[in-house]
């Protein structure tokens, strides 16, 4: 894209706000990538989920889609309150706020390197999706940018699951991957029937159950959440 076409009128306030929210969600994803403690990661995940509810409200107001308000409420209840609560219970156990062994220090890269690697991944996702040139309803630019940000978020979430060697971070990476997919769905197909959107949300519940089982079983067997214990076979 040439400089001349990049210099253009600013997007409208709604679009700007929607894009800014998407960008902040990507930043929170990076926060999860570099955060050492699972507790803080859960907090960031809750913040990210809250933002996607806010985005749903913004889009609902902008495009006049009342069922998105219901979706925003449902998604907030589930992802801002429900999932973090379950995760905290699973990680904290009975001891309360104490950190489970195996989470802190599970990074394979130093935080600064991880962020730089994340930037490379994000750039790849961003420009791949940007090249598709998808335009949404109302001829706005929201889908192109926010969709590309969603793609970047997915890749960074994958990166998070790859560079961390503990089950908790991998679970959080997977859940935030779902947030990225919700973001993409919201901006591209916001007019989807409510029942379908809700069905996507309940997919997340399945993932929570599976990861909950994984965390529980792994913790019971190895007394830690680190996946390095899984590299050896045991009879």
């Amino acid at each position: 894209m040439s400089l001349a076409s990049a210099v253009q009128a600013a997007p409208g306030v709604y679009e700007g706000a929607a894009n800014a929210i998407a960008a902040v969600m990507l930043l929170l994803e990076f926060g999860m990538l570099r955060q050492a403690l699972a507790r803080d990661q859960v907090r960031l995940y809750a913040a990210q989920s809250a933002l996607i509810s806010v985005l749903a409200i913004v889009i609902a107001a902008d495009r006049n889609l009342p069922d998105l308000y219901a979706l925003a409420g449902l998604s907030a209840a589930l992802k801002v309150v429900g999932v973090p609560l379950v995760l905290r219970r699973l990680l904290g156990g009975a001891v309360g706020d104490e950190e489970t062994p195996g989470v802190a220090g599970s990074q394979t890269l130093t935080p600064a390197t991880a962020v730089l690697a994340g930037i490379v991944l994000a750039a790849f996702g961003f420009f791949c999706f940007g090249a598709l040139g998808i335009r949404g309803p109302g001829n706005g630019s929201t889908p192109a940018t926010a969709l590309a940000i969603a793609a970047a978020m997915m890749l960074v979430a994958f990166g998070l699951m790859i560079v961390r060697r503990d089950v908790a971070s991998q679970a959080i990476g997977f859940f935030s991957l779902e947030n990225a997919i919700s973001l993409a769905a919201l901006v591209v197909a916001s007019g989807l029937p409510l029942i379908l959107e809700t069905a996507f949300l309940f997919d997340l519940l399945v993932a929570v159950v599976v990861f909950g089982m994984l965390i529980r079983v792994h913790r019971a067997r190895a007394q830690s959440l680190s996946t390095t214990d899984l590299t050896r076979l045991r009879g």
């Binding site: 894209m1 990049a6 800014a20 960008a23 962020v115 994340g118 961003f126 940018t145």
Partner: protein
């Protein structure tokens, strides 16, 4: 109140406002910081008294130091006083010398000042001053990419890299303020400013432990008027950076749109108020975070870099 000031006088006033106002802003920050910690704090005018005291003292130079050691503070202050000519300090319309240099030109002047101070510190042979200048150069090398990406964002937003053009673009409509590229670039610039002014989480401003010092340690061997110039220089740099943040990026309002004396006087007050507001935010950050360990500063800078890069990314797809 309808007396029109001549343009050269307004241009001179830009420099004078920064030169005279800088210690006051530092005084306000110190006061706010002390209040937040439950202390009464120094007087607001304390930085002026400090400078006046130092200007009256005798100057000594370490044995073996060349003329450059004494010239460096003067060059640094001269560079700092040139920058206010290039940026919108009081007026929303560009002044004649405003196009003498762009954002990069201003950046070069700021790095020239920091370079001569670091070189003078190296001349002394004092281990702490050398430690400080070596660290300052290392970390300014890694913040440089962040500044560049902020400049790229400005260039993509306005098609130029002139500070006046960006301020005018931000003023033009509300959509410009909420666009993510602008917000991300402003946040990245704010992080760079925290780093450049030696604030928490990068450096303790009032610390006395040499091992944690970066910029502060460079002035150790200077004394008397030369030390005063260095102190004044860092206050000038702080106010210049705050001015760039508030008058170019965050709040380019309250600038004089005409040459009338009332408008210009109002702009002086507005500038100092805005700089004080930024200073209060900095003081709150100073009180709510711990200093990062030296090797964690790269993480802080990586965060700022991320913001600036994302700003450019979002612009490229046209939605920023």
């Amino acid at each position: 109140m309808s007396v029109a000031l001549p343009i050269p006088l307004i241009q001179l006033l830009q420099v004078l406002t920064v030169a005279v106002g800088a210690p006051a802003v530092t005084g306000v920050i110190a006061k706010v910081e002390a209040r937040l910690q439950g202390r009464r704090g120094p007087r607001l005018l304390q930085p002026y008294y400090d400078l006046a005291k130092l200007f009256r003292k005798e100057a000594l130079a370490p044995e073996g130091a060349s003329w450059f050691f004494l010239a460096a503070p003067v060059i640094a202050v001269a560079a700092y006083l040139t920058v206010p000519l290039l940026i919108p300090v009081l007026t929303s319309y560009p002044l004649p010398l405003g196009y003498m240099g762009d954002i990069l030109g201003g950046g070069f002047l700021l790095s020239l000042a920091s370079f001569v101070v670091a070189t003078a510190a190296l001349e002394t042979g004092s281990p702490y001053a050398q430690l400080g200048s070596s660290r300052a150069k290392t970390f300014s090398a890694i913040t440089e990419p962040v500044v560049l990406f902020v400049v790229f964002t400005v260039a993509l937003l306005t098609g130029t890299d002139l500070p006046y053009a960006l301020a005018a673009t931000v003023r033009s409509n509300a959509g410009q303020i909420t666009r993510p590229a602008h917000l991300l670039a402003s946040a990245a610039l704010f992080m760079v400013i925290l780093h450049e002014t030696g604030r928490i989480p990068v450096e303790t401003h009032t610390g006395t432990s040499e091992f944690g010092m970066i910029e502060e340690a460079r002035a150790f061997e200077h004394s008397g008027p030369y030390f005063a110039l260095l102190k004044w220089g860092s206050q000038l740099k702080q106010l210049i950076l705050f001015t760039i943040l508030s008058d170019v990026f965050l709040a380019p309002w309250g600038l004089a749109a005409s040459q009338r004396i009332g408008a210009v006087a109002l702009a002086i007050v507005a500038l100092l108020a805005k700089a004080t507001a930024v200073g209060c935010v900095v003081a709150v950050i100073d009180n709510s975070f711990a200093k990062l360990r030296l090797f964690k500063i790269t993480e802080f800078v990586a965060g700022a870099f991320l913001l600036a890069v994302l700003g450019v990314f979002t612009l490229y797809l046209g939605g920023g």
